[in-house]
Each structure stands twice: as structure tokens, then as C-alpha cells.
Symmetry: C2
Subunit: 651 residues, 2 copies
Amino acid sequence: MGTRVLQAARELGVDIDSICGGRARCGRCQVEAVEGSFAKEQIVSSPRHLTEMGEAEQYCLQRGRLDDGNRLSCQAKILGDVRIDVPASSQVHHQVVRKDYEAHDIKLDPVVHLYFVEVGQADMHTPEGDLQRLMRALKEEWGLTGLSCDLVMLQQLQDALREGKWQVTVAIRYGNQIVAVWPGFRDQVFGAAIDVGSTTIAVHLCDLISGEVRASSGAMNPQIRFGEDLMSRVSYAMLNPEGAGQMTTAVRQSISRLIADTAGQAGIGIEDILEITLVGNPVMHHLLLGLDPTPLGVAPFALATDRSVDIWASEIDIELHPNARAYLLPCIAGHVGADTAAVMLAETPWESEKISLVIDVGTNAEIVLGNSDRLLAASSPTGPAFEGAQISGGQRAAPGAIERVRIDPETLEPRFRVIGCELWSDQPGFDEAIGEQGVTGICGSGIIEVVAGMYLTGIIRADGSVSGDARSRSNRIQASGRTFSYLLHDGEPRIVIEQGDIRAIQLAKAALYAGARLLMDRMGVDRVDRIRLAGAFGSHIDVKYAMVLGMIPDCDLGQVSSANNAAGTGARIALLNRASRIEIEQRARTIEKIETAVDAGFQQHFVDAMGIPHTTQAYPELSRVMDLPQSPQATSDAVPGRRHRRRRRRG
Amino acid sequence: MGTRVLQAARELGVDIDSICGGRARCGRCQVEAVEGSFAKEQIVSSPRHLTEMGEAEQYCLQRGRLDDGNRLSCQAKILGDVRIDVPASSQVHHQVVRKDYEAHDIKLDPVVHLYFVEVGQADMHTPEGDLQRLMRALKEEWGLTGLSCDLVMLQQLQDALREGKWQVTVAIRYGNQIVAVWPGFRDQVFGAAIDVGSTTIAVHLCDLISGEVRASSGAMNPQIRFGEDLMSRVSYAMLNPEGAGQMTTAVRQSISRLIADTAGQAGIGIEDILEITLVGNPVMHHLLLGLDPTPLGVAPFALATDRSVDIWASEIDIELHPNARAYLLPCIAGHVGADTAAVMLAETPWESEKISLVIDVGTNAEIVLGNSDRLLAASSPTGPAFEGAQISGGQRAAPGAIERVRIDPETLEPRFRVIGCELWSDQPGFDEAIGEQGVTGICGSGIIEVVAGMYLTGIIRADGSVSGDARSRSNRIQASGRTFSYLLHDGEPRIVIEQGDIRAIQLAKAALYAGARLLMDRMGVDRVDRIRLAGAFGSHIDVKYAMVLGMIPDCDLGQVSSANNAAGTGARIALLNRASRIEIEQRARTIEKIETAVDAGFQQHFVDAMGIPHTTQAYPELSRVMDLPQSPQATSDAVPGRRHRRRRRRG
């Protein structure tokens, strides 16, 4: 009796959070007192169960640090039987609410924690340093030992102690690095999760106390001016002595700007940010760190390091708190980067016995296959076709780009949607809705759908050739040199699907499929239980059409889904959960790395996978949900969709 | 038989050095084969004892890496009984030859060592990072594990591996930090020991392989323009918001320039320097690190930290190898700095049962007393009189300053020497020798000697007052207001010893003596076995005169000596011997810190010590070697030297 709730809870092994160390300042330890049939208000105010609210709690209540009806467990004392509920937000390691596309919750336990302490004042009789007094207070009050401290922190300490009248809040990283100090009490500290894509850079500013995303910001990767895709950037670095340095500076500046933007949105200063996590493919990773990317451009595609990198943010010129740290997830192999590590962390395929296939589609498709028993990774050289590059009329996924396409099986007339507009092109008001910009091109998901649609409507044969016979069905099929093309959009610009575009998509999808199959072979499985498509491409694509094209192996369509920005999610997990860093470092080391470039099996799968779809036998699932030409042979001539469908119904 | 000498030696527990790992490149492992009555040449070439010299050894011989007559122990194989001498320079931890004034040898074992390795080439089938390949090679070849590496090193690694065709030399710090990498073989690496005095800054460039000092350079501390002594610099920082920053910049720039100067002298680049050690008093230490010195200016004189500081040199803007580190010895207390720690390291009073008193005289006298049982430290507020400040005609020890003075006991005529001239002022050619600069002032040791001389010749009484009666003996004694003065030099400027100057010296010497006595009281001893005087002042002073004045406690004069630049020596020890850092860190923590400012015993000793010498009883040693006035009472009137001496002879 008379024990404080906080103490009682700890004695029972219940971890309640606290920054102020039981001084009724932070409100982190608040709990709800409930009991059987009594109304909550009665309980809380009942002297029979908990002591009355004192001044300290009233003060906290007024400042909005204590929710109405709750009590501070560091203040309320137990006077009788009482049932205490510890809200999730007061638990030391509470879960961060996940979004729909995210595979699992994040357990909040960031590498940086705040501790409020009262430090013994300097005293002539015991000539200790300020730092040693601080460390002693942290040991006595919080049980923290083995602490280190660097110069930047030391430079802040003297003023903080004196300004705070020997009361300070410190930030401690990994439980042993004192990284920041502020005078007096403080209960806010921030971090940023940064996804450095070759096309776009995205920053998510997170509150490290609540785990919430407080602001997000994104921008085109400014390196694009040095080369649209990764390999052209590597070439630029090879050909220009200052090239890599220019790209390094550009990406660092862009990240600093984006972070400042999110800080502005959230109404905080950049110096309130103490920790950032960064993910990116190996070339992005190397350029960001000021490492030479050119070894990644030629065999044997050697990484400078395959381990995580933990440095000061200032070492890579990111403007934050002067002592902020940057953590880069490990790259796995020459083409399998820290972005894939982040995707793995977001998807945790190792947590289930079911076999997951996780694909991050970009210039290369980075593929992870496995379950709790075994994990494999490979990169497949899909080339940039899925990103709209090297396609006539192709472009990156950006406003104005055609992203969805349907072709009428009778008339062969297309209808489509463009990014930035909710209407289909055949709906009233479409022209007004897309505005002056109009239709600017076609992006990856649009290309997938139009090629799949051309196949489903018999415009192209299973071998990928555009059938000249289709000219009789629609004048959208036109001769184009010695081959034929399909006019998708007769505007400015005209968007025409050429035979070469279809070949590029065939090469890309065959590479992706062959990479996945190679991993399946290595694992000794014929079928996967689950497919997750990560990245911008994965979040836009209609998985049915991906399967029609033969991009991905057969799988229950209900088990094929988008992992959305899984790389960004992984960066956020590494920011918010300390143990996840150790997890991914271990997984990255032990995952079996399969090099597709030198594998005969890959080459065979690749050749076999060129058709659309290469074998219907490979897709029992697809046969269930869609009408498909029965076999490549059966569609060697133009087969209009309707006739084909009729035939299947007969069979 | 047929075993290589290196291997045989290691099996016998004899540590022979090597950088190249037995590849006949570094020459570090060379040994001398000697045997009984045979001439050396015969032995070395005798197939009966060692294999013949092969190409590799010949190559080393030609390149000057192998001394004539020696053999490479990594190449020569043993064919029969043979006696091998391992020269000191081939031993892993050989001794660095000491200078006269140094207390002990330095065992060479710097924190940085070089290792040559052949790294496995990057290979597509095992997609490891370059860094991981390097680490594997270091483990397999040198048994090094648990290695870390930072970004700066990683940024150099890719090029070094490829330029060196996967053969590189790495520098490893503390046995686990990879700090630098160079393509191919390398056997040179440098460090610098830096003594940041409030008046002068001195840099000693050391070869970390041989331990030799390769170049030295010194300069005035540029902070002097912000304040002559420490307290005026602290005041400047208090009064000017940018003051501390200006002084920080000034000292860092000066250190960088001095290092560059030593590098130029030695014909190396600053990027060949990987490690520096720095010592200085607390104010110098704090300003160098960019810490606020103002808490050191007022009670309780709180240090920011009382531990050693180990940082990148770039963090304090010292221009060296981009990954060079800086180590600052610990400050001990608010007035007892890293310079005192360095003096302790140079003197190691804890290695003997005899009681040592080590005094570093500056604006404060920093005093260490102790032996293998117990160590105590204090700082005594001598003020700047010993440095020539606050003395009429006083100046720092610099060319033109009077440093030695003798006064003729009959005529009271002085003769003196000035810094930068070997002649005494009464020797022929003196005026020509001192040249145009002439006599500019009087420095600390000169003041000590002139005051002691005035006492010995009866010009001043034991209470420090100048006797007006002495005017009858020489017109150099003149009335000066209500007191009397002594004309030391009638030139431009005139150098006159005023009553106030004598008072300043009395205060300073009383403080120094009282500090030493306080420590002796605390230790419970009446006498010390040994006195070492460190610093520029300590190296110029004639210890006899220091004792005449009553500056230091009684001690066998043969056991009173100059430790010369012991602070610089300590910095060099910390640079060259890794274990010494741990030693001084422990000693600095455990030494008993005595605060003189709040000690009643100190005040009493101080008052008692104002006379010259305060009691002859206190100096049996001095009575043995010099004629002294018998007691303060006996000299309360003017007693001409001769009469006094006669009286003693009679008695």
C-alpha cells in the first residue's frame, strides 16, 4: 500500500515508459485505472484505490501531457485493489500502427532514447569533469553504464548543464552513446527514413517517441541529369573524373532539402533530427557515400562493402543536428542493394513457412525467395523497359503518363487512364480533366497492360509478333517498316506500340521470370505461396496482366499483392526498431546470393520465357481467372479475343 | 632443419617485427647470424648454417632495406646450429633511445601499425564487399579480428585495391580500427607529438616505425594577441561572444602550420601523418577542442571532461591524413591539465619507492608528489611573475632577455647573460655578440637569480624589503618613491628591480613552496627524495638559486634536476607507446587531487613562506652548499655579503 503505480508495475515486470524518470513531467507513464462495475471517473478520484491527483499531475493535465481520466503512474499511489490498464502508448515497446500494404507492425524501440537527469553541480572538492558528473547521474538514476561521448556532444554539454541549472535531457543511442544534450526537460526527438531511388528520393520524418510519420516529402533524384538509368550514371562516372563527385553532391543536397522540407511541414528544426536511415540500390548507396560506383558497372560487380554503414550524417553532408547519425542498411550483392535489404525487412519472408517471392522491379528486378528455412536473392537484368525507358512513347510514372489500358476485343479500340486523372479516356470530361498537359507518354504499368491487352485481343501472337492480319479488324494496326504497330493514342504526341517495344517488354519479362524461376530451382520448389511486388511499379500494376504476360510465376492471384513502397517501409523499420538492424545485418550476410549473369539455368529459363505467356501449363491459376489462348501453337495465327473465348467455352 | 629463422624465432617466443608478412619486402625482420669462433661473413654464406642469400634478399640489400651482413629472417632457412642475434630495431617492441633529461626509455609500440596483405580479388561467385575481402585477408594472414573501418577509409579502399593489384598496406589502430590503406607495399607512417603551451606551441614529428623524432618546430601561441596569460584569455572569452572561437581557430591553424613545417623538413606529406597526441593546460585543452574555457576561470573551475579525448584530427581542423586521429591526454583537475598528465607520464614517479616532487612552473605551478604507493597533485596560484609578467622590465624567455644574474658581494655590480648569447655581460665582445637587439628585458630565471643575488649580497632583507642602507655600498641602490630599487642594467630599456617586483616574486615563490608543502603534509612526509623541474622555466633555472629563494623544499641538490620539456616528452610517449595511454588514464583518475584554493593548510604555508628563505632550518641541504644569512632575524639590518660570510666562518 502506498506504492507508486510505476514502481508496482515494474515489480510485476510491466515496462512502463518514462523520459523524466518519475518527475511528473513527461506524461509517458500515464495509465488508466479501471475496476469492475465502477464508472471510470469514480475510480480515478476514489481515495480508496489511488491517491488523489496532486499539483504535479494537474500541471501535466493542463499542459496536455496527461489524457483526461488517466493518471501518472509515477505519482499515483496504490491505496487498495485497483486494476490498471497500461495504454499502448505508455508501453516501453509499443506497436506502431501499420498501413494496409505493410506486412507487419513495427515494434517501437528506436536506437535513440531520451533521458532526463539531474546532474550533481560542479564542486571544487571533487574536481570531476562535467561529462563525468553527467555519466554518474545517468548511472545512478537510469542504470546506464559504459557510456561514450564524442566531441560534438561535449561541446554542447557545458552550456546545457548551466542553462538547465544542472538538469538536462540527453539522447542516448544504442544504450551507450550519448549523442545530444538539451537544457532542462525535453520529450521530443525525430528521425527520418530515406529511400534513395534512382528516379525519386522519398523522406519520411518520424517522431521517435510515438513512432508516427509526421511528414513526408519526395523529389526526383537530381542525378537524372547525369543519366536516366543506373548504368548511364555509372558510365558518366567512368567518363568524367569529377562525375561521381557531382552525383554525390547532387543527391546529398537533395536529401538535405527534402529533410528540411519535412521538418518545415512538421514545425520542427532540422537540429531536432538525430537519426536517419537510408536505403538505395548499390549504385545509389555508393554515390551517396562518396564511394566509386564504377566497379558496380562491370563484372564482377564488386561492392565496396556488404555490411551496414553507421556514420555521422555530417560525413555525408546531410544537415541535421550536428551529432546526428546515419545508418545505411547493408547491400547484399553487386546488384542487390540496401533497398532490397529494406524490402526484406518490411516483408520478413523468414517469419513464415510459406514460400514468399518478393520482387522489387526497377532497372534490375531484385528478387528474394524463401521462407523460415531458407532465403535466396538474385538480381535479374530486366533493363529499363518496365520503367518506360527504351520504349517509343515511354516515360517514367509521372502525371500525364498512361498507366492503365484496356482494349476492346471486338473493335480493338483502346481506353486508358493517365496518372493524375481519375477518369478513363472514354469517360465524359476526360479531356478537360487531364487539362493542358494532356497525355505525355506511357509508363511501365501502361506498357504491361497494353501488351497484355494486345495479346488477349489477338493483335499479337504468343511469340510476340504483331499480326499483320489484324489490320483487317482495325486501322489502329498499321505497317511500320517490315513489321506492324498499334496506335494507342492519336494525339500530340502520338503513342504507338511498335514491334520493338513488345520485344523490349518480352526481354524484360523473360528476365524477371527467369530470375524468379532460377531461385525456385535452387530452392527446389515449383510453386510459390505468395508474391509481393514492391516499388512504384509494383504498386501500380494490375497483377493479372503481369501474369498474362508471364512476368511472374503462377500463384493464387489472391496471394499476389503490392508491397507498395516496401523499401521505404524497411527504412522506417530500421529507424524505429533497433533489433531490426541486427536482424537485417544477419539476414543479408546469410542469404544465398545467386548470380544470374553466369548461370546456365538462368539462360535457359530466359529463352523459354520469351513467349506470351510462354506456356499456359505454367499458369493453372491464370487459366482459372482469365480466358487465355490455349497454347502458343494455338495462337500462331491471329485469333480474335471473342473467337478464342468461345473456343475455350466449348472446351 | 630447413625452418625459416622467423618461424623458428616465433616458435621460441622471440617477437621479430614484420610489415610485409614474410615477403622479403620490408626488411623489418633482419637478424644477424653469429657463431663462436667463425667470422661473421663465413657464417652468413655458409651453407652449413643458413641457406644462401636468394634473389629476394639481394633485392632488399640493394634497396638499402637490409644491412650488410644481416639476413632476412623470413627468407633464411636454418641448416645447422646457428646463433641468431635480433637487433633492437627488429624487435617488435624495441626501446627508443632517450635523451639526457628524459626519465626513462620509451618502449616502441605505437597505436598504429602497418600490415601488408594480399587480398582475394573480387569474384562474381562470392559477392563479397571489398572491405570484407580485406578483412578476411587480415584475419588469415595476420590473425586480426574484430576489425572496424570508417567511411574515410572505405572511400580509399576501392582505388587502393585496384591500383595495388589487390596488394595493399593497411594501417591498423589499437589493433582493431583500419584507418588507412595504400596500394602495394609501404613501410612508413608518421605521428606528431604536440605541446600546446600558453606561450609556445611545439611539434615533434615522429617516425612511428623507428620511433625517431624526424623534425621539430615551434612557434609562439597566436592566442597571445588575445591575452598574454591564461586568465586574460579566459576573460577575453567571457567578454567577447566570439572570443573563444577566435582563439580556437588561431591555435588550430598554428598547429596545422607547424605540422606542415615539420613534414616539409622531413620530406614527407602531411597525409603521411596518421596520429597526433596533444597536451596542454586545461584552458589550452578546452580552447583547442572548441570547449568553453570560461568555467575554468571561476570557482569551482569545472572541466568539461577529465578523461582522455580520442577524436579525428579533422574534428579539430588539423590538416593531416583525412583519417588521422588525435589523442589528448586527460586533464586532471581545473588547474591541473593534460600537460601535467604528460609530465607524469614522462617522469613516472609511481615507478619508485622514492618520493618525487615534480613541478611544472607556468602561470600556475602544477605539482605532483608521490611514489609507488601514493600520488597527489595540486596547482598553486603562482601568478605569472615566474614568466616575467607583472615585473617591471620583465618579459617572456626569448632572445634578448636576461636569464642569468650574478651580483658581486663587494661592489654589488651585476653581471648577466641574455638568451641567445653565450657570453656574460662582463666578458669582452658581449656588446657585439648581443648585436642590435641588445638587452630587451628580464625573464623568469633572471628574476629568480637577481632576487636571490640581492638577498645573498644583503641588498634585501629576509623579509624581502630593499635596504636603504645599501645605498652607501653602491649607487645602483636608489630611492624609488618610499621604497628602494636596484639598477640591474643601465641601457635602453633600463632594467630596474623594484620593491614591487620582489614582492611579486615572494608571492609566487611562497605559493609554489606552499603547494609543495601542502602535498607533503597530505602525504605525511617532511622531505622529498627527488625534485624534477619541468617546462622552459625549469630548464633554465639554476636550482641553487631557486632554493635560496625558498621556492622548493629542501632536497639533496644532486637530486634536483630539470625535466626539460617533460610535457612534450609525455606527448611523445603517448604517441609511441600504446600502453602508456592506459597507464596515464588510470593514474589521472586515481591521483589525489588537492585543491589549494580552499585549503587552510595551504594558506598557512603560504604566509610562512613569504620570507627569503623563510627559515634556514628548512634548508639543511642549502646550508651545506651555500653561505646563507643564519636567520631572518640575523639579517633584519643590512648585512653586506662579506661580513655575513665572515660571521658564518667564525660561527
